[in-house]
Symmetry: C2
Subunit: 197 residues, 2 copies
């Protein structure tokens, strides 16, 4: 089947995006052709600008257009606690949840199972940061996967000798969840972590 | 919650696209930040180019970067049959299905129920095209909705006095469908349209 070349090109570019299949790419492309040219240019500019201006913060690894990022330079945030996350999207989630400390973003999913090593994770820089600042606690907020757990333990072992408190996000029932449908591992963790009310 | 401004801008632009909610927009934006700058520029360029170069064909209304479009100028296609569709995406679907005639794209969903009129549909131009060419049959391929049916009947009434054969796409069971789960209207149409084997 033949399509106008610029349309074909646009569909193939959109298909490269995650979660966008051929059908959605076609629907998006046809939608874009119906938009005002100024709106399409606005979207194109936003794409290029974000990619050009946004960098990982040289201190914490969070995505930012100023270096160091606003979280690192915010004197009203609690500098005694540092939360280690895998990705910048985790920072967004924790900010929404009201966390007020600092961050350290690994900026890659740990792949111990695949590569047999965690050396690519920039954990040295984390420890250097920690030693030269007033950090008292590291909250390990890597994902509750095997790789995330291994990374958390690895960091914990390196950080404890330095005299830091090292904690891990609690496992348990998701709020609004249903005990009947909770997997047994989560339920066991929820039992183990039960708290006095 | 605060995000780097170019990232916030990109998320809000992506959210304007159909079928992209806040979560998907965030996921897409973070994906884009991980791409090579050249790839992001390629996507941005494809957006702007498609919007700038693609126009409805002045003859048939199909989306094209050359006017008249390649379907209108292709002498190997059957010029005696013209298929009326609502949108350019319907052309893509019919091309995939192997249709070899010409098209007429209304380029808008008919909204008789909403506006009480079908006057905005450029049907005059369709009839002018038809009269000055060798068209013998009009295939009405508007959607099987109430608006689509009304539009089909409206066009049929205008085209029949000109001496044209006017047909409508068959209703019936979708291939691979299940009789048990077919709605009763479709099943009734399939019965009415049953064919000798």
């Amino acid at each position: 089947m033949r399509l106008a070349r610029p349309l074909e090109k646009l569909i193939s570019e959109l298909e490269k995006l995650p979660g966008i299949g051929p059908k959605s790419a076609q629907r998006l492309a046809l939608h874009i052709l119906r938009q005002a040219p100024s709106e399409v240019r606005e979207l194109a500019r936003a794409l290029v600008e974000a990619r050009e201006k946004i960098r990982p913060c040289s201190r914490c690894g969070n995505l930012t257009d100023e270096d160091p990022c606003w979280i690192c330079t915010d004197i009203h945030r609690d500098g005694s606690i540092i939360c280690v996350v895998e990705e910048a999207s985790d920072v967004i989630a924790l900010e929404r949840a009201g966390y007020k400390g600092k961050y350290y973003v690994l900026n890659q999913a740990p792949r111990f199972l695949e590569s047999g090593s965690l050396e690519n994770l920039n954990i040295d820089r984390l420890l250097r940061n920690v030693v030269t600042s007033q950090v008292k606690e590291i909250v390990l907020a890597t994902n509750p996967t095997i790789d995330g757990e291994l990374t958390a333990r690895y960091i914990a072992e390196l950080a404890k000798p330095v005299g830091l408190r090292v904690t891990r996000l609690a496992h348990g029932l998701p709020v609004g969840g249903d005990i009947e449908y909770t997997d047994e591992l989560t339920l066991r963790k929820a039992l183990e972590g039960r708290q006095e009310i």
